[in-house]
């Protein structure tokens, strides 16, 4: 009887696949590996690894304590490696300017009420609710995949992270 081992990736242990081109341009597949991207990232950079019109998936190297951020829409944080504490606070008044897409950085801790927190380990997904503030904490280097909308702080590094030949 076969014993199956499920293979997840991590910052310290991942393998990368690739595109074998027959008759195409490899750049059209925008192929990358999120652990490789996070390995070369500065903590809390929001690096796009996927983009579909205005929507993006961002890889975040979580390490230490992030700044506070807020968005006018829901976002979703999936922990792909490590443990991340998501801290949430309400806002006494909206801080995201009308029409702003993606999240914005807040200059300081918002003065709303504490909403609670989620301690998320690998495979756990947390809601970052619209019009609330959130910040992350990771005691060890961790990786977040964020479902969101492209914003002013989204970092594009396609030619560095994607297969080109």
């Amino acid at each position: 009887m076969t014993t199956y081992a499920t293979r997840f990736g991590s910052l310290v242990d991942y393998e990368k696949g690739g595109v074998e081109i027959i008759d195409d341009d490899p750049r059209h597949y925008t192929f990358s590996n999120m652990f490789e991207v996070a390995s070369g990232a500065v903590a809390w950079e929001k690096i796009a690894v996927a983009k579909n019109q205005e929507y993006v998936l961002e890889v975040i190297r979580a390490e230490g304590v992030s700044g506070w951020r807020s968005a006018a829409h829901d976002e979703f944080a999936l922990v792909m490696d490590g443990t991340v504490v998501v801290e949430l606070r309400s806002l006494t008044e909206p801080v995201v300017p009308a029409g702003t897409r993606g999240s914005i950085a807040l200059a300081e801790q918002p003065d709303g009420r504490p909403m609670g927190r989620v301690v998320a380990r690998r495979g756990h997904m947390a809601l970052l609710p619209a019009n609330a503030a959130h910040r992350f904490r990771a005691d060890e280097p961790s990786v977040i995949l964020l479902q969101t909308i492209a914003g002013a702080d989204t970092v594009y590094r396609w030619s560095e992270i994607c297969q080109t030949d």
């Binding site: 199956y4 499920t6 293979r7 997840f8 990736g9 991942y14 393998e15 990368k16 696949g17 690739g18 595109v19 074998e20 081109i21 027959i22 008759d23 195409d24 341009d25 490899p26 750049r27 059209h28 597949y29 925008t30 192929f31 990358s32 590996n33 999120m34 652990f35 690894v49 996927a50 983009k51 579909n52 019109q53 929507y55 998936l57 829901d74 976002e75 979703f76 999936l78 792909m80 949430l88 309400s90 504490p114 909403m115 609670g116 927190r117 989620v118 301690v119 998320a120 380990r121 690998r122 495979g123 756990h124 997904m125 947390a126 809601l127 479902q147 969101t148 909308i149 396609w158 994607c162």
Partner: protein
């Protein structure tokens, strides 16, 4: 557009199966094969492959773009109406003038496909299951498996686990951990809302949720950011259809490995092979068709942009067939 409602044709055949007609297309099965015919030609598919493909097309509501059952027949979703085609995405058929297509209201073709699926799926065979996990589709008509072929597709409105939304899977919901995911941790996140914020402070274990999926190759929505849809799925064996994109689609390999064979959407000429391992991210351009092969059950995050405007934007050249220029 054809306005012929789906109809059962004649009595049961010598194997106990009903025949069906939809427009000018006819559908018959025997012990081993599905036979599909149209005014200018015919096709034959192994019944296990046909039922697995039909199951996905029905469950997905004809999905995004083209669902090829094989190199000849399939459907194109026009979102409200659906084309049933033969040879339309096959260069040889088109060159010979043998391609044929009829368009139906979504509800008519859906009802017809559901009726075929229900009649032709016998007791013990589950078209959603991996081959190792289900019984035989072969032979004479013997019973049915309506419960399996009418599963409800999960579509979270905000996120699985949010109060009032889809609930996480568990033994209690009838979702035991799959044999190939027995080693996947089942712990849930520590969710600690302050009073009054129970509907906003939420989380769930996506990997545990996927480890308990009782279907393969069936993306279901777990989180929604406007038109951005997380549609993770568990994959084992072969994607039963060849998906022809009408928009850019993204794959994030969450666990294990899948091999993708990518061909031209219109001609079926091979363009690439993509090997995806845990943590890999790749786009499927809007002008290709693809089929996946997963030796061990794996977790795949399919990320879709559900915007109704995208297919027309791409068809009119107002949006590129690939996601980014760099």
């Amino acid at each position: 557009m054809t306005d012929t409602a789906p109809a059962v044709v004649g009595d049961r055949n010598e194997h106990g199966y009903r025949s069906f007609r939809l427009g000018e297309f006819t559908f018959d099965r025997d012990e081993y094969f599905a036979h599909v015919a149209w005014p200018s030609g015919k096709d034959v598919l192994s019944i296990d492959a046909f039922l697995r493909a039909l199951q996905r097309d029905v469950a997905w509501g004809f999905f995004y773009g083209v669902v090829n059952f094989d190199a000849v027949i399939g459907t194109v979703n026009h979102y409200g109406e659906v084309d049933l085609f033969a040879g339309s995405f096959n260069e040889s058929y088109r060159g010979a003038g043998l391609d044929y297509v009829e368009r139906f209201p979504h509800e008519d073709i859906h009802a017809a496909f559901q009726a075929i699926l229900d009649d032709w799926t016998i007791e013990g065979f589950d078209p959603f299951a991996a081959p190792e996990e289900t019984g035989s589709p072969w032979g004479d008509k013997q019973g049915s498996n309506t419960k399996a072929v009418t599963r409800r597709r999960v579509t979270a409105k905000r996120m699985v686990g949010v109060p009032g939304d889809e609930v996480p899977r568990s033994d209690a919901t009838g979702h035991p951990v799959n044999r190939m995911f027995a080693d996947v941790p089942q712990d849930e996140p520590d969710v600690e809302p302050e009073p009054g914020f129970e509907e906003e402070v939420c989380g769930f274990n996506l990997f545990a949720y996927l480890s308990r999926s009782d279907v393969t190759w069936n993306p279901s929505v777990v989180s929604v950011c406007e038109d951005s849809l997380y549609c993770p799925t568990t994959e084992e064996f072969i994607l039963p259809i060849i998906h022809g994109n009408d928009r850019v689609e993204w794959f994030v390999q969450l666990s294990d490995q899948i091999e993708w064979v990518v061909a031209d959407k219109e001609t079926n000429a091979l363009r690439a092979r993509v090997t995806m391992k845990a943590g890999d991210v790749a786009a499927m351009p809007a002008d290709i068709r693809h089929q996946g092969f997963s030796p061990k059950r794996s977790m795949l995050l399919v990320w879709e942009n559900g915007s109704a405007a995208l297919p027309r934007m791409i068809a009119e050249g107002r949006a590129p067939t690939y996601p980014v220029d760099f």
